[in-house]
């Protein structure tokens, strides 16, 4: 669990500061043109991650996914480009640089605060933002529904048999469809409940919390910018 000012930063930072980490990384990734630049940049992100992430499970999971994507890109680059390894590896490293920081940062976004910043900071339409925040809130309910759907399928003999890939695919499809139906029905019930709480007639909403920028948020924003500047600076000084 988080201790000290650095480790708490990701949990306290405002959602726009967190999202900016991913955006800067995306832009910085364009400047990864050789292996040295790429490795130094990814190394810099890893080093900062060691200092700030509160727990390792999720960042490593994101790294694994980015890694899979990177290997795929490297392989196809190697196949498609006359079996030249070096440029393909650069492409792969760039994928990690572009995907990993943002996917980690977005996980720490608090939906309600994101809503405050989108509506009050970025002036997005209030109704859209309120509905968006309420929909993010429903992810927890979906996890619960997945468990219940899985139970009754298992009890009815329709659970997955992991030794039969085709059966597993069919099970996944059936579960995904049931979850979709469940989500849609849940969403319409929530829509009724929201409308009955004044949302139906709310064209000018107010916001119960202000969207503020604290010193931590500025530090996170500048930190994200500095990390993303590593590749262009390295390219410049050659």
């Amino acid at each position: 669990m988080p201790t000290g000012p650095l480790r708490g930063a990701l949990l306290r930072a405002n959602p726009l500061a967190l999202l900016s980490i991913g955006l800067f990384a995306l832009l910085g990734g364009f400047f990864v043109t050789d292996l040295r630049t790429g490795l130094v940049a990814v190394g810099a992100y890893l080093a900062v991650a060691v200092l700030v992430v509160p727990t390792w499970r999720y960042p490593l999971l994101c790294l694994a996914f980015s890694g899979v994507a990177a290997v795929t890109v490297t392989y196809s680059g190697w196949r498609g480009n006359g079996h030249e390894l070096a440029p393909a590896v650069v492409q792969g490293v760039r994928v990690v640089m572009v995907a990993w920081p943002g996917s980690v940062a977005i996980g720490y976004v608090d939906p309600a605060r994101l809503g405050d910043h989108l509506a009050q900071g970025l002036r997005l339409p209030a109704r859209f933002v309120a509905a968006f925040v309420a929909s993010l809130q429903r992810f927890g309910a979906l996890t619960h529904a997945w468990g219940q759907l899985d139970r009754s399928r298992r009890a009815r003999g329709l659970g997955p048999d992991w030794r039969r890939p085709l059966g597993v695919v069919r099970w996944m499809a059936s579960m995904a469809f049931a979850l979709l139906v469940h989500a849609l029905r849940g969403a319409s019930r929530t829509a009724v409940a929201m409308d009955a709480r004044g949302f139906a007639t709310a064209h000018e909403r107010s916001w119960a919390e202000p969207a503020t920028w604290s010193r931590t948020d500025i530090v996170v924003l500048v930190g994200g910018l500095l990390l993303a500047l590593v590749p262009p600076v390295l390219t410049l000084i050659g």
């Binding site: 809130q137 003999g157 409308d195 000018e204 107010s206 919390e209």
Partner: protein, 426 residues
């Protein structure tokens, strides 16, 4: 005002019409008019549906925000509403950490913060155990003041002293509209009238329930189940079972009872092998079976009937599991017994709440399992569905099946009762 009627009579539809959701959020053809004076607030059946934020303060603030109130007034109303429903937590308490009764009180607070003129309550206590239901009812009565209140409920007796007018629906039409006294003098069928005896359990033909395979009666010793909700901003661990000893027996009906959050449903799922205990022993452990072998011994009826549906026709729903295990099933006799014969070709999702519950019963138990398990089978049900559940489990046990239900309904006839409290025997 109290609005009553059997399942499928159109009670919830009336509330939705009042909120203006019909034909708009909910698809369908609408004609006619609704006249309404003042602002309106709805308390939905499932409090989970009302949650829009992950902290209780922000959730209650949703209504005031919609009204465009400034921050001082918003938070004044939030604090007043939370105090009125007696939720003893701060604004930052997570909404996911509330029990069922607390969630319903949170939804009530969200409604109060709107300061509505009309309060619509759609079965506000049907998902709660009696003690929690009484607390929620008291909270409602305390805050309603001189507002208009419309409450829909099957077990309406405790509401009678708090209403002046009763409207009864049947088949989408009003069959009674008058004072409480004139309502009590009527003799309308299918309602839980005060003082009336519990419905006679349905008479179920032995051929429909007599176990088609061997009877398995699992027993658990010192069961521990930890439910983990992982979120990045904190992992939540709840110990749902904490060293529970519980055994099912062939030919007997076991009821797992206790307050909401006591671990009833988890205990049932653990016995059925549907959730892995982290400690303790199960004999036999159905969790070791492959899924295709599970229905050979187990019949499972989940709390939410919609979770169990896997086909697009009522008839297919009843036949599916029996086909998987190669047992004959008389689909028409099943549907006839449960009063679903006219709906044999309907889509399961088109049925009303009570009809869905009866279909889930048929879908889960048509293959005549030797172990019959039902999770909260009588929550929010009308008399007909209640009689079907009670009759079905009685007949199954009589034919030698081991039966277990998790319930907070003390009228449901059973043979053995295990009272749970915080994951262990009380």
């Amino acid at each position: 005002m109290l609005l009553v009627g059997a399942s499928g009579a159109g009670k919830t539809t009336v509330l939705h019409a009042l909120t203006g959701a019909l034909g708009d959020v909910i698809a369908g053809d609408v004609s006619g008019q609704v006249a309404l004076g003042g602002r309106l607030g709805l308390l939905p059946q499932d409090p989970m549906d009302a949650v829009v934020a992950d902290r209780i303060g922000r959730d209650v603030a949703f209504g005031p925000e919609n009204l465009g109130l400034d921050r001082d007034e918003t938070w004044r109303r939030v604090d007043a509403a939370l105090a009125a429903v007696r939720l003893p937590y701060g604004r930052l308490h997570p909404t996911t950490a509330l029990s069922g009764g607390e969630q319903q009180r949170l939804a009530l607070a969200g409604l109060l913060a709107l300061e509505p003129d009309v309060m619509l309550l759609d079965e506000p206590t049907s998902m709660l155990d009696p003690v929690t239901a009484a607390a929620v009812r008291d909270a409602v009565v305390e805050v309603v003041g001189d507002r208009t209140m419309v409450v829909v409920e099957h077990r309406f007796e405790p509401w009678l002293e708090h209403v002046q007018r009763v409207v009864v629906l049947d088949g989408g039409a009003v069959v009674h509209d008058g004072s409480v006294a004139s309502f009590l003098a009527t003799d309308l069928p299918g309602l839980w009238m005060p003082g009336a005896p519990d419905p006679t359990p349905l008479d179920v033909d032995a051929a429909l329930v007599s176990p088609g395979g061997s009877v398995v009666a699992p027993a658990g010793e010192a069961l521990v189940v930890e439910l983990v909700t992982r979120m990045l901003r904190g992992t939540q661990r709840t110990r749902a079972l904490d060293g529970l000893d519980v055994a099912t027996r062939a030919g007997r009906r076991l009821a797992l009872v206790g307050a909401s959050g006591a671990g009833k449903s988890t205990a049932l799922a653990a016995l059925a092998g549907l959730v892995r205990p982290s400690a303790g022993s199960l004999m036999p452990d159905l969790g070791r079976l492959r899924s295709k072998d599970v229905p050979g011994v187990l019949g499972w009826v989940p709390q939410d009937p919609e979770h169990s549906f896997v086909t697009t026709r009522v008839r297919d729903e009843v036949a599916t599991t029996a086909q998987r295990v190669g047992r004959a099933v008389d689909v028409d006799a099943m549907l006839d017994t449960l009063g679903l014969a006219a709906l044999a070709d309907a889509h399961p999702f088109r049925l009303s709440g009570g009809e869905q519950r009866r279909l889930a019963l048929a879908a889960g138990l048509a293959h005549r399992p030797g172990l019959v398990m039902l999770d909260e089978p009588t929550v929010g049900q009308d008399r007909r569905t209640w009689a079907a559940v009670a009759g079905w489990v009685a007949a199954a046990a009589r034919e030698g099946a081991a039966v277990a239900v998790s319930t907070h309904d003390d009228a449901l006839p059973v043979d053995d009762v295990v009272v749970l409290e915080r994951g262990r025997r009380a």
